[in-house]
């Protein structure tokens, strides 16, 4: 449905996006995961036809959208990272305005406005000015504005930044429902791994302008198939123990705090015995041993040596 070929964007000689490829099939729910400054928003802006790429192409049903964006814009709903609303207008007035510029038919507009307000849970507050809303409510109206024209593709650029957990949950549930019930294709960008894991069937991991990994969640996790993420607890903190395990052959990425010690170990390394012996040498006792299921964060850490929030 939508294909991106070697898409690049440079600003003053600096490459913000470097020859990325991605695709969206109809009904897909795709995540674009990466830390701040990875190039996600720039990528989204190019796919949304807001800015022209420096090089590369974007094809919608086989036709380039770079020079002729109109066809894609008609079916695209964009939820920008910022609250792109008129704060001096009410939720209803904002939706009416955006519905009109999206050329929603007059006879359908009123019904659509009420439907999307119902979907985002703000029907009761539609006449209130947006500036009186909480951050979460503003984000919900932000999403509602992108849904008025019933887009086939919905792009959400970090739609849950800075909002309360309740609103966040509501938004994620809403996006999932749209994808599953109405078949809306979703491209969701975030630096919150949990959201992408929850919502998306396929994920692109982005860093420094490049796609560093892509696939289904299972495919990405298999990158870590040779590793286990382990968390242990000692009866008391011991710096000598932490130093000792850092030197062990099958253990890497050791992170210790007052309560736990986390590390990655090679699969099948059977290190429990080693850990017990090192704890005894350090005069401590191993009281807890836990093996975690790897996450996308772990995949990112493995690939880049950094966490998503760094």
């Amino acid at each position: 449905m939508l294909e991106v070929f070697k898409l690049s964007k440079s600003y003053k000689g600096k490459r913000a996006v470097d020859e990325i490829n991605l695709y969206l099939d109809e009904g897909d729910s795709v995540g674009l995961l990466g830390p701040n400054g990875a190039g996600k928003s720039t990528t989204i802006s190019m796919i949304s036809t807001l800015i022209k790429p420096t090089s590369g192409d974007i094809k919608f049903h086989g036709k380039s959208t770079v020079e002729a964006p109109a066809a894609l814009r008609k079916v695209l709903g964009v939820v920008p990272q910022e609250i792109a609303l008129y704060e001096e207008l009410s939720a209803y007035e904002n939706l009416k305005f955006f519905g009109k510029i999206y050329k929603v038919e007059k006879r359908l507009l009123e019904e659509r406005i009420q439907d999307v307000l119902d979907l985002v849970g703000l029907k009761d507050r539609q006449k209130e000015l947006v500036k009186t809303f909480s951050g979460g409510m503003k984000r919900r109206v932000n999403i509602a504005a992108a849904l008025l024209h019933q887009p086939k593709i919905l792009i959400l650029d970090e739609p849950t930044v800075g909002i309360d957990p309740q609103s966040r949950t509501h938004i994620l549930e809403m996006v999932r429902m749209m994808n599953e019930r109405t078949g809306t294709t979703v491209l969701y960008t975030s630096h919150y791994m949990e959201e992408v894991e929850q919502l998306c069937k396929r994920v692109y991991i982005m860093d420094h302008g490049k796609i560093i990994a892509a696939g289904t969640k299972a495919e990405l996790m298999s990158i870590l198939s040779n590793e286990d993420k382990i968390q242990i607890q000692l009866d008391r903190p011991s710096a000598s123990f932490v130093e000792a395990i850092k030197g062990l052959k099958h253990i890497h990425h050791v992170e210790a705090n007052e309560e736990n010690i986390d590390f990655i170990a090679s699969k099948g390394s059977n290190i429990l015995g080693l850990l017990v012996r090192e704890a005894e040498k350090a005069g401590a006792e191993l009281i807890n041993y836990q093996m975690d299921t790897p996450s996308l964060e772990d995949v990112f850490l493995h690939l880049t040596g950094r966490t998503l929030r760094d």
Binding site: S45, T49, L50, K52, P69, L76, E82, I83, L89, K103
Partner: protein, 421 residues
Amino acid sequence: MLTFIFKDLLLFWRNRKEILTVLVTPIILIVILSFAFTGVAGISSNPLELKLAIVNEDAEEAGINQFIADAERLEDQAAAQALIAYSSGVKPIAYLEQYLHSPELADWLTVYELSESEALQQLEKKKIDGWIKIPQGYTYDMLNAIMLGKEASAVSLPFVVAGNSMNVTAIEMMISEFFDQVNFQLGLQHSVGDMTAAETVALPKGGREALEGAEPFTMGQYFTLAMGALFSLFIASTVAEKTGTEKREEVIKRIIAADTRPMSYLMGKTCATFILVWLQFLFVVVVSHLLLGLFAGKPLSFWLGLLLMITIYALTVAGISAFYTSIALRSNNMDAVNGLFLLFTMALGILGGNFVPIYLFPEWLQQISEWTPNGLMLATVMEWIQLERVLSLGMPLVVLSLVGILFLLAGMLMYPKRGEA
């Protein structure tokens, strides 16, 4: 485009502070400035009231007699007799006094005859606008200058004033016209040998441009139109400022993503500005008229002409707003751009005579003023108030329309393409 117009009007309406600024502030300023400039620098809220003193140190008869005595000593007795016959009827001081006391000037010129010290005192107390000194020997020297072409020191009449003002300018013009006319006639009669006509010198009828049917304008009227014009310019920069807000809050992105035609956004801003300016200007004029009775007794034709001027001016300001909008969209620093808009508006306001009556400025500055759209608008409406001549509206309307079109075209050319905003 209608959607954008309605949105911009609604946003403006929701900003109560802005509404108060453009509607109430001009009314307050009109009242303050009208009273402030009344009586200052000789400006009256009423039609012209000039007060002039004459300090006469010459004895006219003695001067004539002295000239006659000189003429009698000429060798050519025939010429001497002709000079004597002519000069006995030439009374420059009498002409001046007759002119200054004429019925045509009596309505707005009061003449006092004072000594020099009295005149100085009265001028200091601002009881008079100025005084003319007729020096000793004036009549004798005038006769020598006219009849014999001799140069003399006492021919010019010093005109002493406290400072420049409209009244002073009016008196200067009046006196200058008087002497131009009198000197010309006397000189002409002398040169053609018509020595009998000295007593029938035709005096000029007033020092102002005596235009048929001209009505003076008041400070209230002036500042009503000045403030209407100035605050209209503020509306243009306010609309552009909102563009900056839309850009900062990324609403622009949503508008672009909706595949709206680029010019719809720009034309929406332009049309909204036109409507706001038109309404604001009309509001200021009507409210000022109702509060202060500024245009009482004016016929319907006057109001129609005023409405036409306001409409064309609103179109001009709308064009300026389009230009501002495109600049705002291209800019990365809205604070700097807003500062520039404000500076430009204030400069236009000062040059255009919106803060101080342009008639207090030197001639060259008055001419520059008419190069600004607000200054041209103001000068044209002032003339309309005075003369109500339809033809006088023609060229200014064309110029204002062209200015508006040029700014609009500039705005359209500068409107950013995809990704440039």
